[in-house]
């Protein structure tokens, strides 16, 4: 067992080395200094308390999305529609805050309601994909993709249409909420809202506990690996698949609500920020292990934030971060395959 874990670790490190190799080649192809590029990404992510806090700001929605995806992955689902679920969460949270803005509610309550609305929005969108999958036989990849497009259009329509600013419909989104409705931060200048950090930690912890030790998690695993057998074992597979979508939708919706209340303080055109797709990569790389996912998400968030320095200091395009992330996951998958083949060969084939 221990040996296996060590081998896994070694392969992980190998994947990282290969990914760095590829990005280095890409950098050299672009005639850019690789070492300086990596150093700047590191500085951009860890160079000061401020940027480190920004990494955490980016980590929160990413880890929320990822923890949702861990649930659907466990159920054997490829919830690619999570982008739309985040967007719907943001839309619902915005709707709630717009509705509550005038009411004389304590801000904490209003924000709480916005979170609840966001979760409801994400869950609604996820359940739609889930219903299409369980009752309509529409594969969740394609149902989800379609609904992603619909959610983007819905979002843009709201921003430029019914929810536009007085006079100036603008790419900059809806009118920012009153400051009292911003999720409070530690200090005036800081972006990090402790409450959102707490939500993210709670989310990933909840998913960890749920998947690891609960009947729900075990049954979900059974449904994910063999729905027919799960049914014969007395598990209502359809209901569990829907529950997985629901769980993911709630967390994705929460991520969207965080984007609205804690990061942008308004609804903007690409509110999901690609966290859903990034979360899928994190979940793959973390092999569905919640604690590992939290760490990988932190690494990815650091790459995203750190790469800001690339254009500033080196006049390089920061999509390098994406190249690094993508090749890391790719080599991880390839390495995993190679490792399994090696093990098989060692065991002398399969009967």
């Amino acid at each position: 067992m221990r040996k296996e874990r060590l081998a896994k670790l070694l392969f992980g490190i190998g994947a990282l080395a290969l990914a760095l190799g590829i990005s280095t080649l890409v950098l050299l192809a672009a005639k850019a200094p690789p070492l300086a590029a990596y150093a700047n990404i590191a500085l951009g992510a860890l160079g000061s308390w401020d940027v480190a806090a920004n990494v955490l700001v980016s980590w929160v929605p990413l880890v929320l999305a990822t923890s949702g995806l861990l649930v659907t992955f466990t159920a054997g689902l490829w919830n690619i529609g999570i982008e739309g679920q985040i967007t719907l969460g943001a839309i619902f949270a915005t709707w709630a805050l717009r509705a509550l803005q005038g009411a004389a509610l304590p801000p904490a309550l209003a924000i709480g309601l916005a979170f609840a609305a966001g979760m409801a929005g994400g869950a609604l969108w996820a359940l739609l994909t889930g219903a299409l999958r369980t009752f309509g036989g529409v594969n969740e990849i394609f149902g989800g993709l379609g609904l992603n497009f619909v959610s983007t259009a819905l979002n843009i329509w709201l921003i430029f249409g019914p929810w536009k600013r007085p006079g100036v419909a603008s790419m900059s989104g809806t009118v920012p909420f009153d400051k009292s409705l911003w999720l409070p931060t530690l200090a005036p200048g800081s972006r990090l809202a402790p409450a959102s950090l707490a939500l993210a930690l709670a989310g990933i912890a909840l998913v960890f506990v749920l998947l690891r030790g609960s009947y729900f998690g075990l049954r979900l695993k059974a449904v994910g690996r063999n729905p027919r057998a799960a049914l014969l074992l007395g598990i209502p597979a359809e209901r569990y698949l829907l529950a997985a979508f629901l769980g993911c939708g709630l967390l994705a919706g929460l991520a969207g609500a965080v984007q609205v209340t804690a990061v942008y303080h308004r609804l903007i055109p690409s509110i999901s920020s690609g966290y859903g797709y990034l979360g899928l990569m994190v979940a793959m790389l973390a092999s569905n292990q919640a604690p590992l996912a939290a760490l990988v998400a932190l690494f990815f968030a650091a790459l995203n934030v750190g790469s800001i320095r690339l254009p500033i200091v080196l006049k390089l395009d920061s999509s390098l971060a994406g190249v690094l992330q993508g090749s890391l996951v790719l080599f991880f998958l390839l390495g995993q395959g190679a490792r399994q083949r090696l093990l098989e060969r060692k065991r002398g084939g399969r009967p």
């Binding site: 036989g137 529409v138 394609f142 149902g143 259009a153 793959m284 395009d317 993508g326 090749s327 998958l333």
Partner: protein, 332 residues
Amino acid sequence: MTGDVLIVNLAGLLASAAPLIFAVIGETISERAGVINLSMNGMILLSAMGSFSVALATGSLAAGFLAGAAIGALVALVVAAAGISLRQSQVAVGFVLALLCRDLSYFLGNPVMGQVGPRLPPAPIPLLAGLPVAGPLLFRQDLMTYLSLLLVAGAWLFLFKTRPGLVLRGIGEKPEAAYARGARVKALRYLYTVLGGAIAGLAGPIYSLSVKAGWKGSISGLDGLGWIVLSITIFGGWKPFRAAFGCYLFALLQWLGLVLQPLLPGLPSQVLQVAPFPLMILTLLLVNLGKAEWVERSLATLPGPARRRLSRVLRALNATPPAALGTPFEED
């Protein structure tokens, strides 16, 4: 709108759907062989950028198109190696490549941003171009648009009317049976995945060297097309003509969106733009309904003749995917 205008607009749709057709047919071939190549979105961007760079550097359109096909083939090769030889989830690898290739195209494409490159000229066919209706509709297009039409027919002929096409369908349907009959399943899957990738890879240069000539990085307006391609492949039920119909329908709905904009001022402009997606979902729903258990259950409660008629309709609509799609096959 007069008839003439309608015809030229329809001719424009044929051209604007051409890259989609290459991508969808490429994906269809790959999926028919049992390999799902989910990397489309990034791959098209990368091949658009790469082929544009090559065409710009060499001044040769042909070199550009070749580069596009090569990039498509290369990306497909990674999917094939991971899925066939290393037995990793094709969906996972394809998805990662979709994101990776996109970022790669943005990063590497910086030097050619906004440059003016060569562009595929129209190539009216002598004599035929002068025909009424058919002339302006079909015979005043460019080379790749003609090829897109030939590709659909060619793919159909190959898949359904030739011996290798039969084997291709066989390895996607039941690889163990094809293997028992002497087909080298793994090698053929590699071949068709890479071939499908190369065909789909041509979508990139058709955009960057023709339909949307140029390269503008993240604002090129190509990000998202690959996901659309995958949707249309499903919509097309792995049949070339139905897939082509899907491409044209998509282009038509897009066009209707802007034609109807002044006529239906109350309609949000996004509605028709995203109409293809609910439509795709609806189609999937329809073709799958016959398989769903609850449908079977509720069908069972209907009176006999109605039940049989309904279930026959559902079965006719049903486009069954290749049975072994996405699953690895071991030869020993």
